[in-house]
Amino acid sequence: MSKFVTLESAISAHLHDGDTVALEGFTHLIPFAAGQEIIRQRKKDLTAIRLTPDLLYDQLIGAGCVKKLVFSWGGNPGVGSLHRFRDAYQNAWPRPLEIEEHTHAGMTNRYLAGASGMPFAVLRGYFGTDLVENTTNIATIDSPFTDEKILAVAAINPDVTIVHAQQADRNGNVMAWGIIGSSREAVFAAKKVIVTVEEIVDSFEPRFNSVIYPEALITSISLAPRGAWPSYASGYYDRDNDAYIAWDEISKERESFTRWLDDEVYGKRVQDLTPVGMGR
């Protein structure tokens, strides 16, 4: 069966209520189209994992899809707060939100452990902070070679990892370039991998800082041009900083957010962009 399917089919077939899911991409290549399709399909009770929840998870949280958030930095970069995240955490609207909080170094190493098939990874971090008393999935181990205590963080192996990338080739391999964040580790760590791409090409051209995800790692690929907007896809479109600034207003009140949800998410349907001859 071809891995090329519509985004609607991909989310419907591979993401289930109650799953742990990581939508990754750091500032760049954030899978917004996939996130909004999750909202449209009214998935619920998700454990949503991501270093930077960003607008993406503010939307999912505000729409009531998320039961628990595992993260390391929850703001609107350069703008301010994530109002829907705050409202859920502080006021349980539209539902109570549990959190599990780490640092970027901790989260990226948790994915790394997951990618490596290890129960944990080791790093220097957390010691001396109040995170030690207030989070889970960390432990202290004694270095067997030196007189030091080292932090261990538990592996994360999401049921589903979702990433956006610039290109897929016709064999189902995927290429991303530019800022990649922790996406590679989140992909290797996952049980299933859903990818959205800007474009399907015959073959890849060399690029600086490129990462190729071989077909063997990937569960499904969907064409989703501008699928990372308002974040960006290097070589295709730039970050829409104005949209990030505008989100502050949209998300500030429940009413304006709900209106946005109705107009921009529930009121729209994902376009069927399955390339001719690829699956279905």
């Binding site: 170094a105 902070t129 109040d130």
Partner: protein, 270 residues
């Protein structure tokens, strides 16, 4: 009486100074960076200050952002830590495990640049929650991001924040990133390999840790600001250096550059 934030820009001899307090803070921060340093940069004032330093006295500053952009040379102010400007103008872009494990963790970074919501006398910083309960905070802040391990591993750390009794508090509500913990020996006890905070730069002055006690000491006061004003904006009994100096006023060239930079921001303020 604490000076309000709004009138901080009109302190110099009763007249409006030719700079505002953000500009003074940014320029003072930029001056601490030496040419050739490897600098781990956060977004906001740290970014403005680093880009300013690279554009002026430190052209060989190596700027690294946690998004993975290594030796980048932005000409406009990024809004986020991974703006296209940072990626497009970088020597190379690497993954976050490489940035955190290979660049930051081994102590390879000369200077880490942090902001904060609260700071205490030992330069421990809070960016997690305001209020006494972690579970039921008064205000939920973004959290640690890269700050905890930046504070731990860089050879030195520079912290930039506005100085008020809300930010300079006798006890912070949550230790997100360790400065000097509860004093001498605390960093070593926690296995933090970096040197800890070297400067805390505010809109009113510059503080440095005492070499012995590790407590922050006011060492420089920005032009037009009084010691009394600084004391009134600090939530503890602030120590002052015997040889307290006045920060050099921004030069017209520094001001020109910082304003040109800020004008490139999507938010149109630094």
């Amino acid at each position: 009486m604490a000076i309000s934030e709004v009138n901080r820009d009109a302190l110099v001899e009763g007249e409006k100074a030719p700079w505002n307090s953000n500009e003074m803070m940014t320029i003072a921060a930029a001056r601490t960076l030496k040419d050739g340093m490897i600098c781990f940069v956060g977004i906001g004032i740290p970014s403005t200050a680093s880009i300013l330093a690279k554009a002026t006295h430190a052209p060989n500053l190596v700027l690294i952002y946690e998004s993975g952009t290594v030796n980048t040379d932005p000409k406009t102010l990024p809004l986020s830590i991974g703006d296209p400007e940072l990626a497009n103008r970088a020597l190379t872009v690497v993954s976050m495990p490489e940035i955190f494990n290979y660049w930051l963790q081994p102590g390879r970074i000369d200077v880490g640049f942090l902001g904060a919501a609260q700071i205490d006398r030992y330069a421990n910083i809070n960016t997690t929650v305001i209020g006494e309960s972690y579970e039921k905070p008064k205000v939920r802040l973004p959290g640690a991001g890269g700050a905890t391990e930046i504070a731990g591993a860089c050879k030195e750390v520079i912290i930039v924040l506005k100085q008020t009794t809300r930010t300079f508090v006798s006890e912070i509500d949550f230790i997100t990133s360790v400065g000097f913990g509860d004093g001498p020996g605390a960093r070593e006890k926690n296995g933090l390999i970096g040197g800890g905070p070297r400067y805390v730069i505010t809109d009113l002055g510059i503080l440095e840790p005492d070499p012995e006690s590790k407590e922050l000491v006011l060492t420089s006061i920005h032009p037009g600001v009084t010691l009394e004003q600084i004391r009134e904006n600090t939530g503890w009994d602030l120590k002052v250096a015997a040889n307290l100096v006045t920060t050099s006023a921004p030069t017209s060239s520094e001001l020109e550059r910082v304003r040109a930079l800020v004008a490139t921001s999507s938010r149109k303020k630094s």
